[in-house]
Symmetry: C2
């Protein structure tokens, strides 16, 4: 699988072709050389497993809450010896994740109570506007 076209790469990464091109523009994915083949300006670009890995990393890092800009830094960092910066970014994100997770769990609790009150309440509208009170 070492010579895919961009459509295949996109499919492997679970994104659209335009998204791959967008990541290339952002410098997150490499733009391979066009192999100077038959055509006048060269062949179509080819992608390999390394590109798939990179693309999947981008999606995972995004799911972890990193911005594309931070992901760019992570990718650059991966090639350096700067262990402390890498740890710093990871630990910052873990803290943010812990906060976010707690927030979402609190929200979940409120929504659960709302759904319950809403299902078993006597009459009238569900108490939506007060759903998050006391959290």
């Amino acid at each position: 699988m070492s010579t895919m076209t961009i459509a295949r790469l996109a499919r492997e990464g679970g994104v659209g072709v335009e998204t791959v091109r967008y990541y290339q523009r952002r410098g997150l994915l490499d733009l391979p050389d066009r192999p100077a083949g038959s055509g006048l300006r060269g062949n179509v670009r080819r992608y390999g497993d390394e590109d798939i890995r990179r693309l999947r990393f981008i999606r995972s890092a995004q799911a972890a809450g990193f911005t594309l800009e931070q992901i760019g830094e992570l990718i650059e960092l991966d090639a350096t010896e700067d262990r402390s910066r890498a740890r710093e970014l990871a630990n910052q994100r873990i803290e943010a994740l812990d906060q976010k997770i707690a927030e979402l769990q609190a929200a979940r609790k409120s929504l659960h109570r709302l759904a319950h009150d809403c299902a078993h309440g006597k009459a009238g509208p569900c108490p939506i506007l007060t759903a998050f009170d006391g959290d």
Copy 2:
């Protein structure tokens, strides 16, 4: 606290004045009448506790992952008897939250492992690009 200016309302809600005005434009917050006082075109608008509650609801609902558009629907729903729609929205969001929470917890785990490997690894760069492998 039944006659605040917009700056006070914003402060109580933890947002900026421009954000309050934005929510008014979106129809999420009411635009109270300008009390026809001394001035030619009326006084400045005044806000009350109801507005604070509404604003805080908006922020909480946002934290729960609702979009502003959905929040608009929730606010309208609060005035109706449509219990099933309210429950539907709440339950949909709970499902999405459960997914999101699981995703963030997985990401947290990966980052934790990365930080650890990065701290105790022998030499060379941290294995950033492979941090999410095997999740």
